[in-house]
């Protein structure tokens, strides 16, 4: 094998390290600098390392534990159901026939005229049908919240601030209905988050599930220090909610929280009396 210049060897070492265990910020900068020095493209070692991983795994009889397999499949269901389905048909907007002008509309024979009238009439009917099918404006979050509070079976609990700076001045409550699988969080004075840095995530503890695996209630942002209403987006069906917890997570949320930052809890669920 021919001897390589030192810096090229260093680049290979960094490429290997990148494939095996990743690079820190300094190493990334160093690699960028080396890449500038060597115009020639150097393929990564990722494929080689992956092949070694495969060789190792094919030599084992490793099997995914069954409970973990179920969790992964549940999460896959959540993931794919959260992706908007393509091809949702939007009714085409009807086009009304333009009014012919003297200049561009020559005399038409009777057949043409009847055809135009029939087309115009059908378009008009289509327009009326389309127009009448436009739903009235949806109720606001506040109205939806009021509706849910007035629904039998709805429970609510006051947020209890925990030892976290995000909740220093926070108050509010959570409202939930097991039958409808719907709910809302109401916050006042909660710290506004920068979604590029961190986001809040709700966790719902269900009496029917292990407390180690609360249900993801959705990732959300607090955009104002005033009152903020956030709909709950439970990723799995809740049989009977018993506790709600808000954690601070990285953007996009996590599959399982380490609960390092837990600003709010709500556990004294009471019936709204509807």
């Amino acid at each position: 094998m021919s001897e390589q210049p030192i810096s090229q060897e260093r680049r290979d070492d960094l490429l290997i390290q990148q494939a095996v265990c990743g690079l820190n910020a300094n190493e990334k900068r160093e690699m960028q600098e080396l890449n500038r020095q060597f115009a020639e493209y150097e393929p990564s070692f990722e494929l080689a390392v992956a092949a070694l991983d495969l060789a190792y795994a094919s030599d084992q009889a490793s099997q995914l534990p069954d409970p973990l397999r179920h969790i992964i499949l549940d999460e896959a269901d959540q993931f794919f159901s959260s992706i908007p389905t393509q091809g949702t048909e939007v009714p085409p907007r009807p086009v009304l026939p333009a009014k012919p002008t003297e200049d561009v509309a020559p005399r038409r024979n009777r057949r043409e005229t009847w055809w135009m009238l029939a087309t115009a009439a059908s378009l008009l009917l289509a327009f009326v049908a389309w127009y009448s099918s436009i739903p009235s404006p949806p109720p606001s979050l506040s109205q939806k919240l009021d509706q849910l509070i007035a629904t039998p079976g709805t429970v609510e609990a006051i947020w209890k601030a925990q030892d976290d700076p995000a909740a220093t001045n926070a108050s509010g409550k959570v409202v939930w209905n097991d039958q409808q699988q719907r709910g809302f969080m109401i916050f006042n004075g909660m710290e506004v988050n920068d979604p590029n840095v961190q986001q809040y995530q709700l966790w719902i503890f269900d009496t029917a599930r292990n407390d180690e695996l609360p249900v993801d209630g959705g990732v959300f942002d607090i955009t104002s220090s005033g009152e903020v209403i956030v709909p709950i987006d439970a990723k799995l069906s809740i049989e009977k909610a018993k506790l709600f917890a808000v954690t601070v997570e990285r953007p996009g949320g996590v599959v399982r929280s380490d609960r390092e930052r837990l600003p709010l809890l709500a556990d004294d669920l009471v019936d709204t009396g509807a």
Binding site: M1, E9, D12, D13, I16, A19, V20, C21, G22, P43, F45, E46, L47, A48, V49, A50, A51, L52, D53, L54, A55, Y56, A57, S58, D59, Q60, A61, S62, Q63, L64, P65, L68, R69, I71, I72, L73, E75, A76, F79, F80, R250, V255, R256, D258
Partner: protein, 193 residues
């Protein structure tokens, strides 16, 4: 196998095309591989469980990027898995270099060991990697195993093997370089399965 056939057989591409029925099959086919990797590259079982979930979410997201012309599907899964496991470890600041140097383990296949999934066993890249590990000089092979399989730093390997740090780096560079060249030949000839 033709490119079209490989694309047709790919579970990831089926998933990317909205065939949810392929999800469970994908988890069953590659679950063992990802679990094996996670157990090796994370310090605790609990971390491994969390990391495996992240790997699969990442796989669903990147399914459409799988290109059967560049690597086999098991290799692509292994690449995505290691990337995510590295991210996971860095986020949790428990990178494996903090682990103790393990005892030497004989990883030669055992006759009585249950056979792995067909998808991995028939993967040509895996076969080439295993073959190369057998062909390489013992020091090179051992240095690669300790780096890739045990997650040890070059310094830890040097200490464990009683070799200068530069020698360890050279062993790993040369060994992985040979494997990379060999795999690029397979890929160019369309042999990745």
């Amino acid at each position: 196998m033709s490119f079209e056939q490989k694309a047709q057989d790919s579970l990831l591409l089926q998933i990317a095309n909205g065939q949810k029925s392929a999800v469970a099959e994908c988890v069953d086919r590659y679950g063992g591989l990802v679990w094996s990797l996670a157990q090796r590259l994370t310090p605790t079982r609990s971390d491994a469980e969390d990391a495996v979930q992240e790997v699969f979410i990442s796989l669903w997201k990147s399914a459409s990027r799988f290109d059967p012309g560049k690597a086999s599907e098991p290799t692509f899964v292994a690449m995505v898995a290691r990337r995510r496991l590295i991210d996971f470890q860095r986020r949790h600041k428990k990178f494996s270099v903090e682990r103790d140097v393990p005892q030497q383990v004989d990883r030669e296949p055992e006759a009585a060991r249950p056979s792995p999934s067909d998808a991995l066993a028939t993967c040509e890249e895996a076969a080439q990697a295993a073959q190369l590990l057998r062909e390489l000089p013992e020091d090179q092979s051992q240095a690669i195993r300790m780096s890739v399989y045990d997650g040890l730093s070059h310094s830890q390997i040097a200490e464990s093997m009683g070799l200068p740090l530069g020698t360890v780096k050279t062993h790993i560079r040369r060994g992985l370089g040979k494997l990379r060249d060999r795999l690029s030949t397979i890929t160019e000839s369309g042999g990745a399965r």
